[in-house]
């Protein structure tokens, strides 16, 4: 690929959203909404076009030469300061360089493409909101941060993007800052993100400190390509990451995953995601479906050379992923807030992706991310239409009968649900099938992990069609539902586009059980992610396929039986397995646990610090330093008497001192 072209294009990709942010931010309220309504989505779509050009240019290339590193500028570079020349690989060399390769381009496509659609949708959704410009400022800066995160080629800017994403999401979740709940939710999300960030920082720092080159010399590099090049397999690797060898790399893997878990809402850092539904629905679609929550998956996939060397860490990742998937699925079955249900389904689906990348099925995980981005954004936006039509009612018990009143939305939502549930021809089917297939093949020798993964299917289809049934079928159960009507075109169009995508994108990677393999997708990602260590045998694949499919259908049937025909009492579980119901309804009590185990102790500790330690110790110490400095300053300044004679005397005195020291060679 022509580096200059790539440089310019990627500069556009990064620059346009930033410019959009600048425009909306600087002209805080003053700019007419009409204008921002064009610039806001415009910049993102422009970035999308630029990304498309990069994508096409990349396809021109042979698979081997599709990766390119573009250096924007030499930001901070001690290898310059130490005279080794700019190009030195050693020395702290944090150039602002970006990596353009299939993986990053895929992320860029999703971020700008689906992000663009969501922007367009937001124009309609936020039309009456007074904070219109502010909203688009946040949205644009979020896109910028996300792009920076996926494009950066240095740990430094990866970390910066990582933190910027956290902040932008905080701003967006707490967008309606006059709502206390929204602010609390934003704060919760941000705190969780910061916990994750710390993990990422530590991990990156450990790499920087300990990575050794081929000749065992310490590299001290933040250049990710250099890192991956030097995290070789096997023996070379062990002196690859410092004296601790395997232990060190395991620690790094776990720390990095801490960051990933926070972004991707994996246990134990998952509780922020449902609360984050306080934000406007487009935000939920953008952050909690398409982009931010998948950053963790991206991180693990991007750093797979490290995880390949750290089986323990990778196993932990897979384990946590599948566990979260199961837990979230169970919780999803009993929630009544439409957005929360989708949020938990997101958590569950991301869990599956994390599981996949954990077991080493990287491209399967990325494919799931890709399809999921489409149908989950679709679900959120469709839900957004519903909420919009019901004047911000989110409780599905207040809905009902919407299928007649909002046909298009209903169809779209159903398509999304089918895709999510993994019903054939819809995107989710292929991705999830591939995911489970490779999970079966690669799973760390414990099929039951895979079994759990498959069982998630039944839950998935159950909770999502439960929503479909309660919200759209039957009779309206509220005033608003009575008078609900279809969303305006501007909001319908993106939904329909996404519905189309959710239907077709699955065919990009049709490869179940060796049947009619069209594996464009994994072929595209192969240069970066390589091929899975093992692929499922045809029989196993067929088994996976069948099991997954049957369970998904089973879930739907179950919904039909419970909510449609009433063959099974809705109260069955609550009555006979109250603990399970409560466990699910109370979201496994994680919030309560954290509240007791973390929040309250922290708060009380903080109060103690505030009341006792700060005044006594801190103010004492700091104040002491301050005072002593001031005192010293006073002492010293008395030398400066203002009398020329004293100055001359001092000068003479010190000159003689210098004379003596040098002349008699005392030094």
């Amino acid at each position: 690929m022509n580096p200059t072209l790539i440089l310019v294009l990627s500069a556009i990709v990064l620059g346009l959203p930033t410019a959009g942010f600048a425009v909306s931010a600087i002209s805080a309220g003053r700019l007419p909404h009409r204008l921002v309504a064009w610039t806001g989505p415009g910049v993102i779509l422009g970035a999308f076009v630029a990304t498309l050009i990069i994508f096409v240019a990349m396809l021109q290339q042979p698979a081997s030469s599709r990766g390119i590193t573009v250096v924007f500028w030499h930001w901070l570079n001690t290898s310059v300061a130490s005279g080794h020349g700019v190009a030195a690989q050693t020395g702290f060399n944090a150039n602002f360089s970006i990596r353009i390769d299939p993986l990053s381009v895929l992320m860029m496509l999703v971020i700008t493409g689906i992000g663009g659609l969501i922007h367009v949708y937001s124009v309609g959704y936020m039309a009456e909101d007074p904070g219109f410009n502010r909203f688009f400022a946040y949205m644009n800066i979020f896109i910028t941060s996300m792009l920076l995160l996926v494009m950066s080629n240095t740990l430094v800017f990866l970390v910066i993007g990582w933190a910027m994403v956290a902040f932008a999401s905080y701003a967006l979740i707490a967008f309606w800052y006059e709502r206390r709940s929204a602010v609390v939710a934003g704060r919760k999300a941000f705190v969780t993100q910061v916990i994750g960030d710390v993990g990422l920082y530590l991990g990156a720092f450990l790499i920087f400190l300990n990575l050794r080159g081929a000749h065992g010399q310490l590299l001290h590099t933040v250049n990710m390509q250099t890192i991956f090049a030097n995290v070789g397999p096997g023996a070379h690797f062990h002196d690859g990451l410092g004296p601790l060898g395997g232990g060190m790399v395991t620690a790094i893997g776990i720390l990095l995953f801490l960051g990933a878990a926070a972004k991707s809402a994996q246990w134990p850092l998952h509780t922020w995601l449902p609360d984050a539904m306080e934000g406007p629905t487009p935000v939920s679609a953008l952050i909690h479906a398409a982009t931010m929550v998948t950053a963790g998956v991206y991180l693990v996939a991007r750093f797979h050379p490290i995880y390949q060397q750290a089986p323990v860490a990778a196993g932990l990742v897979a384990f946590i992923g599948i566990g979260t998937a199961m837990m979230a699925g169970i919780i999803g079955c009993t929630q009544y807030d439409i957005k929360r249900v989708i949020a938990y389904s997101t958590m569950s689906q991301i869990g599956l992706m994390i599981f996949a990348v954990g077991v080493g099925a990287y491209s399967a995980g990325m494919f799931q991310f890709f399809t999921h981005a489409c149908f989950k954004a679709l679900l959120f936006l469709a839900a957004g239409n519903v909420i919009h039509a019901l004047h911000d009612d989110q409780d599905i018990r207040l809905m009902g009968g919407l299928s007649k009143r909002m046909k298009a939305t209903f169809v779209a939502f159903t398509v999304g649900s089918l895709a999510l549930a993994g019903i054939p021809i819809f995107a989710g089917f292929f991705s999830k099938e591939e995911l489970l297939g490779s999970g079966l093949a690669l799973g760390p020798a414990v099929p039951w992990l895979w079994v759990v993964g498959v069982l998630v299917n039944v839950l998935t289809s159950f909770y999502i069609f439960r929503v479909v049934w309660i919200a759209f079928r039957g009779e309206p159960r509220s005033e608003h539902a009575e008078h609900a009507h279809e969303a305006p075109l501007l909001m319908l169009l993106p939904v329909l586009v996404l519905a189309g995508l959710a239907t077709v994108v699955g065919f990009l990677n049709v490869d179940f059980a060796g049947f009619a393999p069209i594996t464009l997708f994994s072929a595209f990602l192969k240069p970066v992610l390589g091929v899975p260590a093992a692929t499922a045998s045809d029989t196993a694949g067929a088994l996976a396929l069948l099991a997954g499919f049957l369970l998904s259908v089973g879930g739907i049937v179950l919904v039909w039986a419970v909510y449609g025909r009433g063959l099974i009492s809705r109260e069955l579980v609550p009555n006979h397995l109250p603990w399970l119901y409560q466990l699910s309804f109370r979201k496994f009590y994680w919030d309560e646990i954290y509240d007791v185990a973390l929040v309250r102790p922290t708060v009380s500790l903080a109060t103690v610090i505030r009341r006792v330690i700060e005044p006594e110790v801190m103010d004492g110490a700091l104040g002491g330093i301050r005072d002593s400095i001031a005192a010293l300053a006073d002492d010293f300044r008395t030398f400066q008497t203002g009398f020329l004679k004293d100055y001359a005397t001092w000068f003479f005195f010190f000159a003689v001192v210098g004379l003596v020291i040098l002349g008699l060679r005392l030094s």
Partner: protein, 101 residues
Amino acid sequence: MTGLFPGFLILSAAMFSVGAVGVLVRRNPLVVFMSIELMLNAANLALITYARYTHTMAGQVFALIVIAVAASEVVVGLALITGVYRSGHKLNLDELSEMSE
């Protein structure tokens, strides 16, 4: 000549010290200024002596230039001193101490 060489150096060193001490102890800016000139001329003497001793011309040229430079410094200095004097200050450096700390 070599016999006198240390003598000249000692003389110039003495001149320099006298000048320096003069700067330190005298209050009248004119006298302080003269002391400074004395220091410069001490350096000149050293330069000439060395020029003779090392049989190089540089020292003499240096001395000439120093003389010229010193002259212009004197002129500027005297102008400033008269200026201060006319602006009401007594010619006493200790009174020029409004700024301190």
